[in-house]
């Protein structure tokens, strides 16, 4: 290729770079570097005028290489590649120097920052001289999307996709879709019934011709690449043939094993060994719990089979279940959250004092089909029945396991609002009941939320600003006898108080769902420090991930309320649809390739490739790389002992040039 003519464009990024790095000095320095024929600065290189400047310079000075020294390549590399292409210069004859995220923002001393900036620019200039033209390849995109998680976010995403005629595989590990929202009684701030608004969506999703619901199933592997993923789905053994089952429910009535703790009901009541988690379950197909079914355990019973007219019971299903591999173009992860288990916070008495409840337990208590048929009552001899005595006073304790460095540092965002909801529900269910709401800060950011708070203030709820220090059940003063005592500082008054109540509801915070980390590893996604999934950009790409073609929605990304989860579900769907409607995906050209005249077929590389992209051509005794399979990690290139493997865009020469550029005057 003709002698490099490099143009260097240094960005002030307003004051982000300019206030620390002496941009003119850097530009001047660049002018003096080998191969540099033009260097210029600009306030905002990514702005239209900025890009225009680059395009003009390319033409005017016949530049055949471009270096933009601005922000991180992860931010604007695509932007400037496009700029070059528009000026007729191949976008890969371009290199970015990261002066913002890795120089100006992290360096205190201005002189040091400017010096480092020069070094970074010099490295980029030396590197770009060795760049070669590259071209992205396009691959067809499989017109189907995998949605992992059948909560409200996943359902919304699935429905949006389906309505655009995209095939959807909706995978839910529980026997029914619906997720957390299906457990809720009312929803804040409108107080409309969760089931009433969710159930239709669940049914719609299940019956939609474009949606295949894989309930009681989990994604165990994902291979392939954007546009052409293969997902392996594990269907757990339910011992019920869903094709045959009519959902008549006869088996549910007749099963003699009645004392199985009902997880879905927060173990506040029992279920049978064959069960559906709740009445409106979708699909309405029971599953048999192999840990408790006497037929499966001891080979005795078989009643459900007897009563099943459809003959849908199959005790002989393989216990390990079945596996299915599906082709999809992209993936939406909507695996939701779990609520904090307050047992370790001994001071709050959960697990020790019967009438201390978690938020979800209380949610079920309020629910008409819950353990108390919707009555707010105390336990009788440790058991919850609708016949129990109503409390005279209830304490709502905010920030349990949230905003607490001993457990979770983050704010769970929804606890304030659902606590207000509970306050209202208690007043509604138990007229005259005192409600104490203990909060640190009342966080009501959302449409109609503050209004809801104001409404509750009028409903005579006793709001006390102070984190509950302790809940105990031993009296010191007569009025405390036989009741629970909440110890707290009323911080607005500045005095400590002992407040007797009959029931305590802990506003337990939100945590990443069970197995979130494992799934992240299966899908090669990252988690942030709080364990929730890491989005590509907190502001600009909130539902994308670092992995092309994998999107996130709902609480798996961070705690959210229902409207936000639904919005994200739709947003993720929009991105998935966009990709599928385009019909093709662009594959980065930065793959590994073989220099055949040097390759001796030693096969060091072959077992290193996690994607089986490398094979051996037996008669030519050479390694051969399948570009479509190669994801461009370069591990094989790093390993090749005779430098017979190279990676487009990251070959030895280019990286040597970068090293030398950094150390030029060492």
């Amino acid at each position: 290729m003709s002698k490099p003519r490099v143009g260097v464009f240094v960005c002030h990024c307003g004051s982000n770079i300019g206030s620390i790095v002496d941009v003119p000095a850097v530009a001047a320095f660049a002018t003096g570097l080998d191969n540099v024929v033009y260097a210029q600065e600009h306030k905002y290189m990514c702005s239209d005028p900025g890009q225009e400047m680059i395009r003009d310079a390319i033409k005017e000075h016949q530049l055949n290489r471009v270096v933009v020294a601005s922000c991180s390549p992860l931010m604007h590399e695509p932007t400037f590649r496009k700029t070059c292409d528009e000026a007729g210069l191949n976008g890969y004859l371009f290199q970015m120097a990261n002066l913002r995220e890795q120089v100006s923002w992290v360096t205190e001393d201005k002189a040091a920052a400017t010096e480092k900036a020069k070094v970074v620019v010099r490295a980029a200039v030396q590197r770009v001289a060795d760049h070669t033209e590259l071209h992205t390849t396009t691959k067809p995109c499989t017109p189907a999307t995998l949605v992992i998680g059948g909560g409200v976010a996943g359902i919304e995403a699935a429905l949006q996709l389906a309505s655009s005629d995209t095939k959807v595989h909706l995978v839910e590990r529980e026997p029914s879709i619906g997720g957390a929202m299906a457990k809720f009684d009312k929803t804040f701030p409108t107080l409309d019934c969760a089931a009433c608004i969710l159930t239709p969506k669940m049914v719609q999703a299940y019956t939609h011709p474009n949606i295949t619901v894989h309930a009681y199933s989990e994604v165990v592997d994902l291979s392939g690449y954007v546009g052409n993923f293969q997902a392996k789905i594990h269907h757990k053994a339910s011992y019920v043939n869903n094709e045959k089952c009519t959902g008549c429910g006869a088996c549910l009535q007749k099963c003699p094993v009645k004392r199985v703790p009902h997880e879905w009901e927060q173990n506040l009541m029992n279920r049978r060994a064959i069960y559906t988690p709740f009445a409106q379950a979708v699909p309405n197909k029971p599953v048999i719990d192999a840990q408790h079914c006497t037929m499966l355990l001891k080979g005795k019973c078989g009643i459900c089979a007897k009563v099943c007219e459809a003959g849908a019971i199959e005790y002989d299903q393989a216990p390990e279940g079945t596996y299915e591999t599906i082709d999809i173009g992209n993936v939406i992860v909507a695996t939701g959250m779990k609520t904090f288990d307050p047992t370790p916070m001994k001071a709050l008495g959960y697990g020790r004092i019967p009438d201390v409840y978690t938020a979800l337990e209380f949610e079920r208590m309020c629910h008409a089909s819950g353990p108390t048929e919707g009555h707010v009552v105390k336990k009788t001899n440790g058991v919850l029945t609708h016949g129990g005595a109503a409390p005279k006073a209830v304490a709502l304790v905010h920030c349990v396991g949230s905003r607490d460095k001993n457990y979770n540092e983050h704010c769970s965002r929804v606890c304030c609002m659902y606590s207000l909801k509970y306050a209202h529900l208690i007043k509604e269910h138990v007229p005259g009941c005192e409600v104490y709401d203990f909060y640190i800060d009342m966080r009501c950011a959302g449409k109609g939320y503050e209004e809801f708070y104001n409404r509750l203030l009028r409903e005579d709820v006793r709001f006390i600003r102070g984190k509950v220090a302790e809940v105990n059940n031993w009296a010191i003063y007569p009025e405390e006898e036989g009741r629970l005592v909440v110890r707290v500082e009323d911080t607005l008054v500045g005095t400590t108080r002992r407040i007797p109540v009959d029931m305590v509801v802990l506003a337990t915070g939100l945590e990443p769902a069970e197995g979130a980390k494992a799934l992240a590893q299966t899908l090669h996604m990252s988690c942030s420090n709080d364990g929730f999934y890491l989005e590509r950009h907190p502001k600009l790409a909130p539902v994308s991930t670092a992995t092309e073609g994998i999107f996130v929605a709902g609480c798996c990304q961070s705690p959210k309320d229902i409207p936000d989860s639904v919005a994200q579900g739709a947003a993720a769907a929009a991105q998935a649809i966009a990709m599928i409607k385009r019909g093709t995906v662009e594959i980065e050209p930065t793959t590994a390739h073989v220099l055949e005249e040097l390759c001796s077929g030693c096969q060091i590389c072959i077992p290193l490739c996690p994607y089986d992209a490398i094979s051996r051509d037996e008669e030519r005794r050479l390694a051969v790389i399948e570009p479509a399979k190669c994801k461009g990690c370069g591990t094989c290139v790093g390993a090749c002992p005779s430098s017979a493997l190279q990676q487009w865009g990251f070959d030895d020469k280019q990286i040597y040039a970068e090293i030398d550029g950094i150390l030029a005057n060492a």
């Binding site: 001994k346 001071a347 020790r352 105990n472 059940n473 031993w474 010191i476």
Partner: protein, 286 residues
């Protein structure tokens, strides 16, 4: 046989004498060697720590240094001493600047400490296996039917310590091992007023009262303690509590080692030195 560097603490040589006597008696039975640290000094205790932080660490560290020469872990029966020594030990490891000053001070006194010593509370050495089984085995006279409120107070479990900071179980474990019955005792880890007894007597007495009240409600025949200061507040000042609040508690307060001694039928437990006389329930076993 297990062997420790024994750190008595100041009270053990005076008001807490019977704690030391009973501890030694029990240790003899179980074949635990407690070799008193030669020329030990005050642990720094709460009062000292509160007004001379680094200095307290330094003089506390002198004991650690002495124990290190014995090449043994320290056992401290007094919760305040336990915390004083443990805190010094912890901060020396965690905070370089503290380490610098303290080690400098030790050097000035011709001593050095390399952080190899572990600090254990007397309770700790009995509740951990295999010793717990040996305790069970050593019981000659099971204290069947005796209802015991196990009181550990604060500094054995907070801010460090080996037992739960809110609802500790170690003493109940021992009580059960002796054949007696631990009563549910919510005040087990609440403050007795300890260090306040002289400066803010009224406050301290109120705290002691609550501790005693809960024991009475739980129908305890006796309270067992793990610290001379707690013992002083609950036993010696029980009369003062009664006088002050018009209550009439008469709950015997024993060192947990005295209770163990009873079950072992060991002698020289100094039980007679406790001011509050034995309750009916307790007398039945004496």
């Amino acid at each position: 046989m297990t062997s420790y560097a024994y750190y008595p603490g100041c009270s053990a040589k005076a008001t807490g004498a019977s704690y030391e006597e009973s501890l030694m008696a029990v240790a003899r039975v179980l074949g635990i060697e407690l070799e008193e640290i030669d020329d030990w000094n005050c642990c720094g205790a709460t009062a000292y720590f509160s007004v001379r932080e680094k200095l307290a660490m330094a003089i506390s560290a002198r004991n650690l240094a002495l124990a290190e020469t014995q090449g043994k872990d320290i056992v401290a029966p007094c919760s305040a001493c336990y915390l004083g020594l443990a805190k010094a030990n912890k901060y020396l490891k965690e905070f370089p600047e503290t380490r610098e000053i303290v080690c400098g001070a030790l050097k000035a006194a011709g001593l050095e400490y390399n952080g190899t010593v572990e600090v254990k509370h007397a309770v700790e050495i009995f509740v951990q296996e295999p010793m717990l089984s040996q305790v069970k085995a050593a019981v000659k006279h099971p204290l069947t039917g005796l209802r015991v409120a196990g009181y550990v107070g604060c500094q054995m479990v907070r801010p460090y310590g080996f037992d739960d900071a809110e609802y500790p179980v170690a003493l109940d474990t021992i009580t059960t091992a002796l054949g007696a019955t631990p009563v549910p005792y919510p005040m087990a880890a609440r403050c007795c007023g300890g260090s306040q007894i002289m400066t803010n007597e009224e406050v301290a007495l109120r705290m002691s009262k609550n501790v005693l009240l809960a024991a009475e409600k739980a129908g305890a025949d006796c309270i067992i303690t793990t610290c001379p200061l707690c013992h002083m507040n609950l036993d010696m000042f029980q009369a003062k509590v009664n006088a002050h609040f018009g209550t009439n508690f008469s709950i015997p307060v024993l060192y947990f080692t005295q209770l163990m001694g009873m079950a072992f039928e060991a002698s020289g437990l100094g039980i007679e030195k406790n001011l509050v006389g034995p309750s009916a329930g307790l007398a039945a076993h004496m």
